[in-house]
């Protein structure tokens, strides 16, 4: 089972978030595709990009598929969705409720 910790740790890195954005823009990219776009703006090596892709795959944030000699990578938004449902929705709801309480109090005073 993939847990929240792995997803949070994988997301706590700007290069890895950039890789997710690249796949969100265009799903199903090979490692070389990803590498070209990442190394264009950084000193990172191919090995460095590979390590980041591996962390994302282990956290379930990307899935891979063989295509002939290539492996293509797809964004899997489910771990982020689960974090949203478990962690974010809860706190933003409370926030919205507090604001609407405040609105009601102000309007009735």
């Amino acid at each position: 089972m993939i847990d929240d910790d792995a997803a949070f740790k994988a997301l706590a890195d700007s290069t890895r978030r950039r890789i997710l954005d690249l796949l969100h823009e265009r799903n199903g990219q090979s490692l070389s595709d990803i590498e070209v776009q990442i190394t264009r703006h950084s000193q990172m090596t191919r090995f460095g990009v590979m390590k980041h892709v591996k962390v994302l795959a282990e956290a379930g944030l990307i899935t891979t598929e063989r295509r002939g000699r290539n492996t293509v990578h797809y964004l899997n938004p489910m771990p982020i969705r689960l974090i949203h449902d478990r962690w974010i929705a809860k706190y933003t709801e409370a926030h919205v409720a507090a604001l609407s309480d405040l609105k009601n109090r102000l309007e009735s005073s």
């Binding site: 899997n76 489910m78 689960l82």
Partner: protein, 153 residues
Amino acid sequence: MTEAVTESRLVFQIYIRATAEQVWQAITETEFRRQYFFGSTIESDLKPGSSLRSMSPEGELWSDDTVLECEPPHLLSHTWRSLWDPQAVDEPPSRVTWRVEPQEATVCKLTVTHDQLEASPVTARGVSGGWAFIISGLKSVVETGEPLATVPR
């Protein structure tokens, strides 16, 4: 770039604490489907070539698709057209594949792939956020018996 990848495919993968049969029921039976799929039904005998229809809670026809492959409780593949979206309704049908793979004793991996979307960009944009919400809801219904509390519509 080594190759121009022009295919359009969405992939959603999740682990669910349940047996393959329980996940299969949640995918194929209205009683469960209603709780996570925007309240819609599923009506099909699940035979390849048969129709697979879905009605909204108000009884509108939301989908009228065709079963492509069915191997209970592991594989269901069917065509997809977003009939509720007037912008998407004239696009060619795409394909949705549900794959249930048992892992350890009571854990399954569910992979939903929505592909053949190359000629259906409006459909692709329309469904991408919806699938994540639906599949998260399916997990919640199967694991806890309860739908998700928040329903973005």
